[in-house]
Symmetry: D3
Subunit: 253 residues, 6 copies
């Protein structure tokens, strides 16, 4: 009891998520969009549906889902240079864009999508740790809205089910030898091991990416991190479902 406050600087229990909010249809133009917040981390997600597929996929009757992630220059504590000004996309940006794309494709039946493309843009407006996991979790909501929008406009068949499930993501890490859930920036900076876990709503793994920061970790620690992540994803899945069941533009806790 007495040491929990010491464990997390914001008073959360080790297995407690930050306050998570989805504001659907935050944009007027995008087929699906959501402002997703994990505490102070704030990502604007826009899912753009277009007919047709990239050249390399043409004529196969299949669709494509991809993602691009970027941080605004002042999303962070100190301003970073724009990648457009530097003339190239950084390694971390590429890596996260690819991760989000793979995560979404894990719950997409590309044949049911037909020859259509959905690009999911995740722009981090404010960063306080967990920007990639918030992006994936929000991207699923925007993707679901974009698919419903396309269905409503007859761009995909009424009975087609391009989504084979839901997907969400959360970060976990070791702090003072204990696994904790959903790290914010100060925690992320000090955690001994950092792991991002992407899972379906049915509790299967899509991605597991664990990195030792400083000390390598053993199998028992890995197991503890996976346990706490699994529980966190289950909670996020419920929040996604509630958001999609609610009115768009309404905030859902």
């Amino acid at each position: 009891m007495t040491d929990t406050p010491a464990l997390r600087h914001d008073g959360r229990a080790p297995d407690q998520l930050r306050e998570v909010r989805f504001t659907r249809n935050w944009l007027d133009h995008a087929e699906g969009s959501v402002l997703v917040e994990f505490g102070r981390t704030r990502v604007l997600v826009a899912a753009s549906f277009t007919e047709g597929v990239p050249r390399w996929l043409k004529g196969q009757g299949k669709g494509w889902v991809t993602s691009e992630y970027e941080m605004l220059p002042r999303s962070t504590n100190t301003r970073s240079d724009r990648e457009a000004r530097k003339g190239k996309v950084g390694g971390r940006t590429h890596e996260i864009s690819r991760l989000i794309g793979r995560s979404l494709r894990a719950v997409i039946d590309t044949t049911a999508l037909g020859e259509n493309t959905i690009v999911v843009d995740c722009d981090v407006l404010q960063a306080d740790g967990g920007t990639r996991t918030a992006s994936i979790t929000g991207a699923y909501v925007a993707l679901a809205d974009a698919i419903e929008d396309a269905r409503g406009r007859g761009l995909i068949r009424k009975d087609a089910q391009p989504l084979t499930g839901s997907v969400a993501a959360v970060s976990v890490g070791m702090i003072d030898g204990r696994p904790v859930l959903d790290l914010d920036y100060p925690e992320d900076s000090t955690a001994g091991t950092d792991m991002n876990v992407v899972m379906t709503g049915e509790g299967q793994f899509v991605e597991v990416q664990g990195t030792a920061e400083g000390e390598a970790f053993d199998r028992a620690e890995l197991d503890g991190l996976l346990d706490i992540a699994t529980a966190g994803i289950a909670e996020l899945t419920k929040l996604q479902q509630a958001a999609l069941a609610g009115e768009a533009r309404e905030r859902v806790l």
Copy 2:
């Protein structure tokens, strides 16, 4: 009377601004920030204050204010490619970034600022016409907040007045032979002449940029456009003052 509705598709009077909102301190990290809205146009402005100046300005006892403008890929009706992915910043982006920077420097006493730099990022979250004028108008608010923040932290002298006035901007154009104020995207696409006017709060001109779209325009039309712009800027100046007088994070109409 009867033809006013025909003039503007949203029922505004020719000299009427869209609803303008400033949400100050929208970001937690930036020294000054504002979410500025001109109707459905929505720009996130962050003013980042850092000690020191670029190399070419060192040792002169003067500060520097600059700006970068960019549109999110799905701020528009159809998705555009990211400039970072294309590996270069487009001509229009550069042009607007430079315009915003010049406009802000018109009301800055760089000596009073001391050897400090303020970078003002204007990221267009949603575009519906007037993104550059909304950016300038919001940028002034964020800039004022950043300067107050620096003063509070002792980074600029208590009695220094780096701001010599306020600055705001508005677009005007000719529709069906009449000058109209603050064009939204559908109006901007059809207007015969397009002009962006940047003025100080005292009613002096900082920038006048008029472009004939289609037909060239005569001196009388130019005069009409400048009249309506001058009145619009006066109104925007009052809204800026009200916003800066209010609580941060409160929306001000």
Copy 3:
């Protein structure tokens, strides 16, 4: 009388152009070309006519006119790095290229041009202020020659009139509180307000770009600048006509 010499370092009257020269067909290959000189500012303009249009314009029966502007590295007092070496085109270069293209298109009937493209290259060989206005003024002459050349080769119809008028440009600025015409580099560096005005031969405005350097300017100053620019453009229009009426390769004052 006595203070005019003090006003301008080269002894010109406030409303006096520098010596303007057009040397037509300076190049052997280009369909239209001119070496245009505004005093010591010297721009080589080449208008290249090609059949066909960019992909986005195909099948509409319309042509396209565009422009590219660049400064040679040693056109200026001190050498600048080549943009090709830096791997990107600078903001100012883009901005001026776009301005020249828009100015030329203001006097082009793209339907009369047919599905043909004219690219007008403006390469500044020597810069002494007013490179963009000299470029536009010379570009009109090269454009007219390229169109005549294409007509002669049967690439546009005999009776088609792709040019709906002429276009010229001049810079104006406030020096010691007085409006002056056609600033050279030393004047441009000290002028309080800097304005570039593009007009048709019939005296209509195509572009008005005024920027306060230092102090903002009031409506009376703006009016004074527009007056002097209008007179200057009328003079440039006559010089263009004389050049086009003369023998190519002959210098025209």
Copy 4:
């Protein structure tokens, strides 16, 4: 018994590595180098030791280890374009370079290294699956040689131990519902789940990166993959030790 041949096209047992070879000092100039082969996958690793550290690390008494990975254009079945010609480094290349660097730093005591930098280049001469795991496994050998070389030349202290352990990596995946070790390219293309595991010689995890290809995977599958990877790493660790104990330039199985 009977189905093992069916499981792997090259007849290996599920938990069997390909033939692994290290040819140390393959290069004459590099402080440490190795040609590492995992079956037909062949990576040339060069560890370059230089005195001094990047600017951001100066004056802290610490060293730096980083890595760059790249594939030769014809290392693969069909030729790929060079990234240098495309003018940018691809996302996958960046991602793997970063992974190798992090893996090596997990066994480096940067204080013991002193203010020195080691860059480890991993150039894939031939690719047949597992290029990143072969790179990491070979990079440790080259890194160890580079450190010994520096010690011999007095560039690091005699008693300093910059290496806190060894590191190796292997890929595992699910084929026909069974976990298999060290996938070659044909296996990698068909495996249901693909996981790269980086561990220290003491059996601790440094990186765990599992990705569902097609179907998501459950906890039992994850456990099976980690078990087989752990055994494979133990074997690779022994091969690294044998290589480092042997004569340089001698092939070690």
Copy 5:
């Protein structure tokens, strides 16, 4: 006699090549490949045969042969930055790539090749002088193998002879006033004149590139250099023939 050891640091006679080795089929995927060694200079050459030609050559019934040259970052004494990281290909790299391509095309009958393309990649694994001449000499061997491979697969006609001859290259230079053959890096750094000569197996010149380093050279020196180069090329031609006559993967001196 007594001064020959003084002339060359490795004891070679002035007209003596370094040990030259060709290891054919060093790669499993490429249609033709060779690891070519001129002493410690080691270049991996891969000839990739693909059906079809670049757009600008289509429909003419002709093929295309081109080359790309690059140095691994640690092929040299001190590590160089990767060109891919710098985002552009350096002048020297371009120049040598173009030289190799021209040299190979000098012995290619593009009509006999049919509408096929062969790209020859020359990647320098270790550099000790003469990397471009080793590349050309090895590239001929890989090219011949790629053509034989294509013939065997029926991609070029049985009776077509795309190769009209052989090509090889060698460097020569003036050391202490004497012409010497096949300079290694220490010699190349001190030679007064540096010349690269490319010749056919029949003794005709394809390229002659001589550069004065320091002092300009006279006609007699030029003649002496050409003589020694001609003899060296004749020897390289025999070694190429022997290599192509032998078993692939066998080293040939």
Copy 6:
């Protein structure tokens, strides 16, 4: 006699230069400049003198001379894209820039130059063959003027002789089996062998670059080409001396 007209389309004798003109001080700002013309080939050369040297040369008491070559987009028969727009400098451009730089450094005593840098820009305004040889030949004149200018301003010592001689260049080629001098574009396109020769005013070779176009060439052809080039360079040397002896801005044949 009768076949000479058939040999060269413009009636020149095989060993005859085109009309060569140097217009010195064509630019007002550059320390040295010349508009050099070889027939219709027209290159604007600017030599920029600056105090100081690149970082890698600092503190050695030596100067640096380098060159950059570029073609204007419409210098050629059909317009080429700007390299600045393409974002990279092409291989041919790099190659020629490097050649010009090496050629000039062959007649520079960098110690006598002191720690100063001269950048020689060669911009091709119109191309009709021989742009690189005209550039080198003109560059020497601009370089000599820049050095005199620096001497006059006391930036190099009165008695220092940074120029150790003169340098000029010419192209030669085989047409119908005969060596011809100073090829124009139509000749260059059909010549069997193309050679560029750079020599000092004293008749020593600085660069010899011969390339077989189509057929390889033999030693006798090479000798014939070198003979004719040597005579041509002697003539160019005289023209350079006459130009430098004359008034600047006066045309010299």
